[in-house]
């Protein structure tokens, strides 16, 4: 056939229709993404606008005075760092080790399925329930009193499921062929985990830890009953002391102190967010360093 067919590569009605539908969906997804980041920007913007003027070296590094109305947030800042650090020291090793066991050693049977179900349920328990559990278990039963230790244990229990789930997912993302190659060369489970599985999943595990840092630092209810106080004139000296905490301090300055300048609670919130972002960026930097070190 040598009759020219000008319609051969022309868009048909169907093509045009499909292209229109596809553009509509792209617009929908784009708008949703925009919707997603709007609150983040609004929150940061409001905090900076209203609380930025409160931030100074004095605000960061001095204790509150005049019933929280003046002075700074140093005891609360330090207390939050204590709480988060101790909670991480408790929950990260336990969570990671448990996840390794569940993913690499345990078989798939009714017992491990119950454990997995329990972990998922634990992640869904409201934080105020964790608070009451922490009060009953750590403060009263184990007689730790209201202390950093009791509060951090409560936080650890609450955030451990996140670590376990994130760790297990990144372990399971390592292709099974790698494990089998190792086993077939006579490597034990542990040698396989140590040399192949962990190096390939460490970045995912750290992501879980980062998530946990943010959550731990921001929680208020679980520490309210277990270790954090409205005000204390002393800085914590050990894990058996009570402490102030930024999240609780924010609650107090925002709702419990009459006649306080508006910029103070916003300033506290700003410090809390900055602290979380700093901790996160340290982990992100560590993650990037690990990734750069990887030979593959």
């Amino acid at each position: 056939m040598n009759t020219a067919n000008p319609a051969l590569f022309q868009a048909s009605d169907l093509n045009r229709h499909n292209a229109r539908v596809q553009r509509r969906y792209r617009l929908l997804f784009g708008l949703m993404t925009l919707l997603l980041i709007t609150p983040v920007l609004l929150i940061l913007g409001t905090l900076l606008a209203k609380g930025g003027s409160a931030i100074s070296w004095e605000f960061l590094f001095s204790a509150p005075t005049d019933g929280m109305r003046t002075g700074g947030v140093f005891p609360a800042l330090l207390g939050t760092i204590w709480l988060v650090t101790v909670a991480l020291l408790l929950s990260v090793p336990i969570g990671i080790f448990a996840a390794i066991y569940l993913s690499e050693y345990a078989g798939d049977n009714w017992f491990t399925r119950i454990i997995n179900l329990a972990i998922i349920n634990l992640a869904g328990v409201p934080s105020i329930v964790h608070a009451l559990f922490g009060l009953g278990a750590f403060v009263l039963f184990f007689k730790f009193g209201t202390s950093i230790l009791a509060a951090s244990l409560t936080l650890a229990v609450m955030t451990m499921p996140v670590v376990i789930v994130a760790t297990r997912e990144s372990l399971q993302a390592v292709p099974p062929a790698f494990r089998e190659a190792c086993w077939n060369m006579g490597a034990t489970r542990w040698q396989t985990i140590r040399r192949v599985v962990l190096p390939n999943s460490i970045t995912g595990i750290l992501t879980g830890v980062i998530l946990e840092v943010s959550r731990t630092a921001g929680e208020t209810a679980p520490i309210m009953f277990t270790g954090a106080v409205f005000f204390t004139p002393f800085l914590p000296q050990s894990v058996f002391d009570q402490t102030m905490a930024l999240s609780l301090h924010l609650f107090v300055t925002a709702t419990q102190v009459p006649g306080i300048a508006e910029q103070v609670p916003f300033g506290v919130a700003l410090v809390l967010i900055a602290l979380v972002l700093t901790m996160n960026s340290v982990s992100i930097a560590f993650r990037m360093w690990l990734r750069g070190k990887k030979k593959w």
């Binding site: 078989g107 062929a177 006579g186 034990t188 593959w296």
Partner: protein, 268 residues
């Protein structure tokens, strides 16, 4: 198995690297192997052929005991490797894996450097005076890669990750990384099925290089490969051994009509 006359004169009594006796194997309730008695001679390349599901891979996998990882596998009978029953309760599984190396269909190098891949199992087994290749790590890497005819291609990129290599090179590497621990037997489960004809040729060439130093048992779907690249050939059907003999005899004058039919492509 009536080829004693043809054995090399320097080796009057043929030794058997692998000997199975009444090996029966079940996957759950499905019986995959029926009374498999095989004597596989040391230092030779033996190929296993047969239609899919005939049990050849299952047999291969029971020679380094990776079948049992499935959990629902039941085994009766015995498999001797170098005259020791590897299913004896006193046998250390790690030693079985060291003495009997395995190569898979899909090359499975570890996601580490070429060099570390070669040294991986050496590091696992060298501590405590295991019988492994001696020398500095660099020597071991060079020696192993030379043995698999890969040294010249990769000597300048030993620190690059192994997963960047071509499939053929990866498969050679997977063979090379077994050698530093001085295995007695190399099992290969269709080692060329992921490779192009050139890669297949290269791996077959390599098999001939390794012949004599190691006992090689290779499962293949490729009849021409069995014919080209093995000295003895085992034909299996429905979980039973039908024929085992010198490759040229199995192919030219098969003793059983099933073998002849399979070889001529009437089923399979």
């Amino acid at each position: 198995m009536n080829n004693e006359q043809t054995a090399a004169p320097m080796q009057p009594i043929p030794r058997h690297a692998i000997a199975s006796e009444k090996l029966n194997l079940w996957y759950g309730t499905f019986q995959a192997l029926y009374d498999v008695d095989l004597r596989i001679r040391e230092g030779l390349i033996t190929s296993m052929i047969g239609p899919s599901g005939c049990g050849k891979s299952t047999f291969l996998r029971s020679v380094n005991r990776i079948n049992e990882r499935l959990g629902y596998v039941r085994i009766e009978g015995s498999v001797h490797v170098m005259n020791e029953n590897i299913y004896d309760p006193h046998v250390e599984l790690v030693q079985v894996r060291k003495q009997v190396g395995m190569v898979f269909q899909r090359p499975n190098p570890l996601p580490i450097s070429i060099r570390d891949n070669i040294l991986f199992s050496h590091r696992l087994h060298a501590k405590g005076g295991g019988d492994v290749a001696q020398g500095t790590p660099d020597e071991i890497v060079e020696q192993s890669l030379r043995q698999v005819l890969l040294w010249d291609q990769v000597k300048d990129r030993l620190r690059r990750k192994a997963t960047e290599l071509s499939l053929e090179e990866q498969q050679k590497l997977c063979i090379a990384r077994l050698l530093p621990v001085k295995p007695k037997v190399l099992l290969m489960d269709e080692p060329c099925s992921a490779l192009d004809p050139k890669g297949t040729e290269a791996v077959e060439e390599l098999l001939w290089e390794l012949r004599g130093q190691y006992t090689i048992l290779i499962v293949t779907h490729n009849m021409a490969q069995a014919r080209r690249a093995s000295e003895e050939c085992i034909f299996m059907l429905m979980g039973r051994v039908v024929e085992h003999g010198r490759t040229d005899e199995v192919f030219v004058t098969p003793a059983h009509p099933e073998t002849a039919d399979y070889i001529e492509g009437r089923y399979g």
